[in-house]
């Protein structure tokens, strides 16, 4: 039963996390991010019920709303079928719904005391926040794979090129990371579950409807167009629509989509890392 060699040797071993060459430091940072995501993945493995429950809502949207509106032909979607048009939008929506409530886990962990343990560990705050974002991303990916399969069953012309598919998964990951970090910031500001749930409900619908998820931006009134152009969800949907569909054409350009998504994520993670420690105060 040798617990330690009595002394500071292990602490000295790792006392300077940022020393050494920058590449090694980056490696350690990424390792920490992955540990936080691993933690969440282990939880999901013990109890994956949540993943199945999450699949119900997008299924209804595609099966009911999608089928009906495809017949109505009320929304101009060019030469692609409405169901094909909305499938990437529903994928983005379901990822948004997962991510926007993900922040509540932080409040939950704070109430339990788990968060205190992480904050007292020598883990950079940015790694904690990015690890959370990646955890939401993993949930988003599972959802993404499910919706792609469902779309396939409904006859959506999915682009199977490996690069396109990889692009779809990356977009899902980014989208989940963006909105879960946004949600984490809100959680750090409001600090209680009750307030958080209220705000989460208020935010979800505007984000969804003020985007190009289920209708093109072109048919919106001017003021809504303006909002949807600053809504990160629009860029996520645009990237998904371009990459996921055969013959998909981007409205903003894929380069712009990814630039906007990475920039928004960087800003949000920066803010989140500043606010994260304040949640235990």
């Amino acid at each position: 039963m040798r617990l330690s060699e009595k002394g500071a040797q292990p602490a000295v071993l790792a006392s300077r996390p940022w020393s050494g060459n920058p590449l090694a430091a980056l490696g350690r940072f990424v390792y920490k991010v992955l540990i936080i995501a691993e933690l969440d993945a282990r939880k999901l493995r013990h109890d994956p019920t949540e993943l199945f429950m999450r699949a119900v809502q997008p299924t209804l949207w595609l099966l009911v709303f999608g089928q009906v509106f495809t017949r109505v032909r009320a929304i101009p979607t060019g030469d692609i079928r409405y169901l094909d048009f909305m499938a990437p939008g529903i994928l983005a929506q379901s990822v948004l719904f997962i991510a926007i409530f993900y922040g509540i886990s932080v409040i939950w962990e704070r109430d339990l005391g788990i968060l205190h343990k992480f904050l007292v560990s020598p883990t950079p705050r940015t790694a904690l926040v990015l690890g959370k974002a990646l955890s939401a991303g993993v949930r988003g990916l599972v959802q993404g794979l499910f919706i792609i399969l469902l779309a396939l069953l409904l006859g959506v012309k999915v682009n199977w090129h490996p690069l396109a598919l990889g692009g779809v998964l990356l977009t899902v990951l980014l989208g989940a990371a963006i909105f879960s970090t946004f949600s984490l910031i809100i959680a750090c500001l409001v600090k209680t579950r009750e307030r958080f749930m209220g705000i989460g409900q208020v935010l979800t619908m505007p984000l969804f409807f003020a985007s190009n998820a289920i209708y093109p931006i072109a048919i919106m009134p001017g003021w809504l167009q303006a909002i949807s152009r600053v809504n990160p969800l629009s860029y996520q949907v645009d990237a998904l629509r371009t990459l996921m569909l055969v013959g998909g054409v981007s409205g903003f350009g894929l380069g712009v989509d990814f630039l906007v998504m990475f920039a928004v994520l960087a800003v949000l993670v920066g803010i989140g890392a500043r606010l994260y420690p304040t949640i235990v105060i």
């Binding site: 292990p10 788990i114 020598p122």
Partner: protein
């Protein structure tokens, strides 16, 4: 040289001064008890010393590192068991420890060995692969102590380690803490409401009241200080803190405490 030293450590929340110019020094290897009524500032003090809460003024050093200027270095040499339940119920005991080992940069080759050693130390080897949700209150606390030890900290902070535990589980925790000190010379700072616990475990205790230290010394010294033939530490506690009737902390603190006690009990 002291392993922990605070100089005029102060924390205000709005108009409330939770910790008021605290000066405290703890020697290496010491078991130090922080007593006091609810709301006396014990938890706030621990939060500042563990870098969770920035002081309003004043400062402190732990193992030679400044808590304000070198928080990352402080985090590497301390262990912390919060009053609330910090083990994750949806993971196994083994997983809880493994994640902590990784976060503390325990080398990959050594992770498994350290986790097993920590499980052995608190007697949880047989329950390692059970979900923590199925653990008893005493087992959860033991797991949390194991978590706080995995990186071999020089100093350990425990916020009411035996809250809500039955006498058997409490004694098991005491045994582990004493063993820890004797075998590894770990310095321990703990808060408690149990005078028996403080009397039995601690070399020195400080009684906090309204953010200040009302009395400090060995349990024997404190008993003598109130002129006590047959005085108990409880008498000492009441003597130094008994002038407030409405002690008991805020609604939120009380809620949290009772919730923790219920889940561990």
């Amino acid at each position: 040289m002291s392993i922990l030293e605070t100089h005029s450590l102060t924390r205000r929340f709005g108009t409330l001064t939770a910790v008021d110019a605290l000066n405290l020094s703890i020697e290496p290897g010491e078991m130090f008890g922080l007593l006091g009524p609810n709301g006396a500032g014990k938890t706030t003090t621990i939060k500042m010393l563990t870098t969770l809460l920035p002081p309003t003024s004043g400062g402190a050093s732990v193992a030679g590192y400044d808590i304000i200027r070198q928080p990352a270095a402080v985090r590497r040499v301390i262990g912390y068991v919060p009053q609330m339940i910090s083990a994750d119920g949806t993971l196994t005991g083994y997983e809880n420890l493994l994640i902590i080992a990784k976060l503390y940069d325990v080398p990959r080759a050594e992770q498994e060995k350290r986790v097993r050693a920590a499980l052995d130390f608190v007697g949880l080897a047989d329950s390692a692969d059970k979900l923590v949700r199925a653990y008893s209150g005493g087992m959860i606390r033991r797991l949390e102590i194991a978590q706080s030890l995995i990186h071999h900290p020089q100093m350990l902070f425990l916020d009411e380690p035996t809250i809500g535990l039955d006498p058997n589980a409490r004694r098991a925790i005491w045994g582990h803490l004493e063993q820890l000190r004797h075998e590894f010379g770990t310095t321990i700072l703990l808060t408690t409401h149990l005078m028996e616990e403080a009397d039995r475990l601690c070399d020195r205790v400080a009684i906090m009241h309204l953010g200040r230290i009302a009395a400090i010394g060995t349990p024997a010294e404190l008993k003598a200080s109130i002129g006590g033939n047959g005085a108990t530490l409880e008498d000492v506690f009441v003597h130094y803190t008994g002038n407030t009737l409405d002690s008991g902390g805020t609604y939120r603190e009380t809620l949290r405490e009772r919730r923790t006690a219920r889940r561990l009990g």
